[in-house]
Symmetry: C2
Subunit: 266 residues, 2 copies
């Protein structure tokens, strides 16, 4: 994290202004504790109906928090003083499904036909799990969460199709029920687990080799618990190889004005 | 209800087949107890993105259960053996925002660019309220639920905008908490109330004069409780006066294969 005094104590709008000014370009984990952070997908309008329908049909891996108006860099609900082209610390530009690099502003790439999708992120439910006394192993071990391709088919919608990607967190057997209950109450950020304890049942052959992120230790008495993962929509988009897509860079999220607790009752 | 022997004991698919054959054209209230019934809006594709976004931004009054593929009369999830052009007992055809009559099949009106939206209905939560020991007054009094225009603005999306329409049920003071809890658990069918006890706060000037449906008696010790209502999306559409829209006729719903209880955990 860059050396900005007291950044951990700043409000969402204060942090967004620092990011907008180019003064903070790091991952957002740990910032504005308690506020929802969001993933980003920006697509041309011609793909927006199929993608919105894809998220409607697959809400567990693709929980849409908000969709911008066509061409707009503003939001109505999750943030007021916001510029979607500058308020993520880092973006990725994709052309024909291939990443062409990371930038800290997409102002120069903006087009009048772009639609921005804010998608819920498991950061929100992890802070609730920690509050419920559950250790999040990848946080303890300071690595990225392990993620896997699965055999769980998604409902296709127009051009978009694919299988679900899941994230895995080892949970002590006696805390599995708590973990299910805490996350089931948060459907806007992936909700309850999709599988408990049996990776082979969802097509994961070797749990020690995640397809994305890093492996974490699974201790005696713990079971691997799998949640629908926000990598799913990005994966589905890249299979379509659209001419032009913008996403956030992994870990570099939008910090919204909405608290995780409020999100539970939306 | 038409005199079909044992109709109340038939399964959803059996009832849909009777309806498809033109043998049942009445309201569906009380049929296939425990199964979700759905409202219908059919729009041309050119309006579908704006309308889908409108429902995403206003999920409480416009809870989308499923959206068909473009031009398709089938569903993926809520019913397998289904024909959307024949399986509602009665439809309304609108041209330029004006109803031009009711029909029992829309097969002859079908176009390749039509998209069907199935929208959740308060029938689902009423059966749960009754199971929780709460009397539903308009059922007891055998009239339509009272509904009101409000001053609660909706989030607009493209061409669609408007205010929320609400339904009202009188609830004894000592059952209000139960009514809130039961319905809050069912966000796919409007979820928790939007207002408890103060009609003026949401712009309702005279509770004895509903804008739609019929007034019911409010007894001493009861408070009026207001829920987001499925008339909201139809109202918003008619303000746009599209060239061509099909809806179900009020009370004449699709009986789906999905149980209300399952819907709670979707």
């Amino acid at each position: 994290m860059e050396s900005i005094p007291n950044i951990a104590s700043l409000s969402p709008v204060e942090i967004r202004k620092l990011i907008r000014a180019g003064k903070f370009t790091s991952p957002t984990s740990g910032l504005a504790n308690g506020y929802t952070q969001a993933n980003l997908v920006i697509l041309p309008k011609e793909l927006a109906y199929d993608f919105l329908l894809f998220t409607q049909r697959n809400p567990r891996p693709c929980p849409v928090l908000e969709v911008s108006d066509i061409g707009s860099r503003k939001l109505h609900k999750f943030a007021t003083d916001v510029d979607l082209a500058n308020d993520f610390p880092k973006y990725r530009i994709y052309r024909n499904g291939v990443s062409t690099g990371e930038v800290t502003s997409v102002e120069d790439y903006w087009q009048d036909d772009l639609v921005s999708f804010l998608i819920g992120c498991s950061f929100s439910f992890e802070s609730e799990l920690i509050a419920a006394g559950i250790e999040i192993r990848h946080i303890t071990e300071n690595v990225n969460v392990p993620m896997y391709n699965t055999s769980i088919p998604l409902e296709s919608a127009g051009k978009f199709h694919g299988n679900m990607v899941v994230s895995m967190r080892p949970i002590p057997e006696n805390q599995v029920v708590t973990a299910v209950n805490v996350t089931a109450a948060m459907p806007k950020v992936h909700g309850a687990p999709i599988q408990v304890g049996n990776p082979k049942a969802i097509g994961i052959k070797d749990i020690s080799k995640p397809d994305y992120g890093d492996m974490v230790s699974i201790k005696p008495g713990e079971v691997p618990v799998f949640w629908p993962c926000g990598v799913t929509p990005q994966n589905a988009i890249m299979q379509v190889k659209p001419d032009f897509v913008i996403t956030h860079a992994p870990g570099h999220m939008l910090i919204t004005d909405i608290k995780n607790t409020v999100l539970k009752y939306e």
